[in-house]
């Protein structure tokens, strides 16, 4: 009955590799997001999709490519991984609308060796 679920929970890989993180929500929301949380716990928005369309891209390197096959899924593909990509990545979802709280998954901890 998990509302926002991400896989995998942990991802350990080497520099230069390509990896994907998947996210699914069963809340019936039509807006989904990716956030990055650094080692100091600072959370920053990366992308937002509404009904499969990209609406926010916060100057993230184009090595990061989100894809939304339908409004319940938002996956994140990362090419040519770098050491600085090590972080916890969170997926979130909300209803469309300004006064709508976002609901988060439990994160994917990405470690680059």
């Amino acid at each position: 009955d998990t509302a926002v679920s991400q896989t995998p929970k942990y991802l350990v890989t080497q520099m230069g590799n390509d990896k994907s993180i998947k996210c699914e929500q069963n809340l019936g929301h039509d807006t989904m997001y990716w956030y990055k949380q650094d080692s100091k716990k600072f959370l920053k928005i990366m992308f937002s999709y509404n009904n499969k369309e990209l609406i926010i891209n916060e100057t993230v390197p184009n090595r990061f490519s989100p894809k939304s096959p339908d409004k319940a899924h938002l996956n994140l593909h990362i090419n040519s991984l770098e050491l600085g990509d090590s972080a916890v990545y969170f997926c979130a979802s909300s209803q469309t609308g300004h006064y709508q709280p976002q609901h988060f998954g439990d994160g994917t901890r990405l470690s680059i060796l």
Partner: protein
């Protein structure tokens, strides 16, 4: 451990005390605010929200106060319990579109001793 090198502001309280966590925001156009709780290994969990047309909102054991004049937000937790130990974030959003981008504060770690 996970907290090595982590220099979050920390509030230490005894079980049963009331806790107050503060947050300053900078965008005077922000009109919607949310408090989140993040436990170790978990994602941020929604606690309570408030719109800018309100000064105070109460939930179960929690109260959020908003002072727009000084751009300050606080979260009060009554009768704090060990299970309240977590990192607490305030988040704000502004804008008149249907899409809200949350800007998160730096977080405060709450430690509750039995």
């Amino acid at each position: 451990g996970e907290s090595v090198g982590l220099h979050l502001p920390t509030l230490s309280v005894q079980e049963g005390d009331n806790s107050i966590i503060n947050c300053a925001y900078s965008n005077s156009a922000s009109d919607y605010f949310i408090w989140y709780k993040q436990e170790s290994g978990k994602g941020p969990q929604f606690i309570i929200d408030i719109r800018s047309n309100m000064d105070k909102r109460q939930g179960q054991r929690v109260t959020v106060l908003l002072n727009k004049t000084v751009k300050h937000l606080s979260l009060q937790i009554a009768a704090t319990q060990p299970g309240d130990s977590a990192v607490y974030f305030c988040a704000e959003t502004a804008g008149n579109s249907g899409y809200s981008t949350l800007t998160f504060g730096k977080g405060t770690m709450l430690l509750v001793s039995p």
